[in-house]
Amino acid sequence: MTYAPPLASAAQTTAASAPPLLRFDELSMVYSTPRGPYPVLANINLQVNQGEFVCVIGHSGCGKSTLLNMVSGFATPTSGQVLLKGQPITRPGPDRMVVFQGYALLPWLTAYDNVHLAIDSVKPTLSEAEKREIAIEHLEMVGLGAAAEKKITQLSGGMKQRVAIARALAIRPEVLILDEPFGALDAITKEELQEELLKIWNTQKCTVLMITHDIDEALFLADRLVMMTNGPSAGIGEVMTIDFPRPRDREVIMEDPRYYELRNSALDFLYNRFAHDADEG
């Protein structure tokens, strides 16, 4: 089963006519465990267009991270494949940059050095002045221009996540992969960062795949919400199109009656139709 892209905005209709940027093709993943093979994911089919913002939601243990790991190249599917611009993904690469759950910043470096190291590794041919300019531009984009020379250990969780986002965007990936990026942050920092992420995404128009546990976060950010069924053999249960006009204003969309329709339908999916079995780990 494939899912048609949303036809909400003009940008997306032009994207729809082009071949999809990412294609999940009959994807399955089986882990071998001491107690025998354990099928995590089965028969995943999905197409993601250039410039789309897609959120993935599902109960813990349903294989969301595994799904994104097959895009980033850290995991190889047991059968099927993920195609980026028609090419199967075989290994990690900077065209699919990841914002890791634990930030994965190098703590002995400053914020600037972390971003600079990424640019230096991915685009070694740029001049030093260009690298510097890109690093500073992206740190300023996430509001860290003043804290650029601070060591990672001196930064708060929200600031670390900002550096991680700046580092990811600075190398201009085709796909930005975020694994529950705001899960560990307090509510206010979380909302701020969501808004900043959206602002940056509006200017850069990269394709975003993001895992979340938060329905409101997905409704605010995403074009489409992929809802996963429970494992073993988890699959895509439903794909919800979220077509609020962009740029989005949190207060405005929360007043939209459709917001609650979508929210209730997602809640119904997660807590009634595919409620998490308490015995499952």
């Binding site: 980033s72 990690p92 690469g93 900077p94 890791f100 994965a104 190098l106 590794s121 991915v122």
Partner: protein, 281 residues
């Protein structure tokens, strides 16, 4: 006279004792117990020597024995050959330690990194390393003499082989402990091996490497004394002690031991200080 005419010196004296009292109140607890502990030990030792309970000369003999007093107060004399002041003996020992220890650091860090990165290599050599590190410095002496047929390189080998294990094992552990997140960042950015080595591996493993280096400096110092005692004929603090023993200059043995302890303590403090400086950066 003066006090009756001019009472101001009295008044001026008051802040000074109060300052001293303040200092004493702060540091007295840190100074008194070690002072009394050491003094009590020395008193016990001196008493048991004076009462003839032991043949070992008491601590006062360092000053009362003329030969020893000379050695104590004139550490820099050099009458040629093996007749040197204790400072020069200590320097000979230290230069051997410097050579053997540097070799151990270079080889230990290099092999430790290789073993830490490569699981097969680790499995191949770990049992051997664990076995060899249990061999005491003295047991290496005959092997070293057979291997090198010469005292000097044999002594350096004994230091090398004694002090390499903590460096090697700690470095390997430091490399194994590099968080998977950092490795993943290097993979996504497709860092070159060289960049991964200098930007991720070394800084990440550095605290472990320094722990190894610090443990090893103490071992190297222990080993040189053992090696010199068994391989006499060249200047060194171990030789000095052995020579004193052969000539029954008991208080000189005591003086030699004081030098060994003091230098060992200084070496350890030096490494601790260096470790703290490095880890702060």
């Amino acid at each position: 006279m003066t006090t009756s005419i001019n009472p101001s010196p009295n008044r001026e004296q008051r802040p000074a004792p109060s300052g001293l009292a303040l200092w004493w109140r702060k540091n007295g607890k840190l100074i008194l117990p070690p002072f009394f502990g050491t003094a009590g030990f020395l008193l016990f030792w001196q008493l048991s020597a004076s009462l003839g309970l032991t043949k070992l000369a008491g601590p006062l003999s360092l000053f009362t024995e003329e030969r020893t007093r000379e050695l104590l107060f004139y550490p820099f004399f050099d009458r040629g050959g093996l007749d040197k002041g204790l400072f020069l003996h200590a320097m000979s020992s230290l230069s051997r330690v410097a050579l053997g220890y540097s070799l151990a650091a270079i080889v230990g860090i290099a092999v430790g990194i290789a073993v830490g990165l490569n699981k097969t290599l680790d499995r191949a050599f770990d049992p051997l390393f664990q076995f060899l590190r249990m061999v005491a410095p003295l047991a290496w002496v005959p092997i070293a003499l057979v291997l090198f047929q010469n005292n000097q390189p044999a002594a350096i080998f004994v230091i090398f082989i004694t002090s390499i294990w903590p460096i090697l094992i700690n470095t390997a552990e430091g490399v194994r402990q590099i968080p998977q997140d950092y490795r993943n960042v290097a993979l996504v950015l497709q860092m070159s091996n060289r960049r991964f080595f200098t930007k991720v591996l070394l800084p990440s493993a550095l605290p472990y490497i320094f722990t190894g280096l610090r443990i090893s400096i103490g071992l190297a110092w222990l080993a040189i004394i053992a090696a010199e005692i068994v391989m006499p004929g060249s200047p060194g603090i171990g030789f000095f002690i052995w020579d004193a023993y052969q000539n029954s200059y008991v208080s000189e043995i005591v003086l030699g031991v004081v030098w060994i302890g003091a230098i060992g303590l200084i070496l350890d403090r030096l490494m601790t200080w260096l470790q703290r400086r490095i880890s702060k950066q």
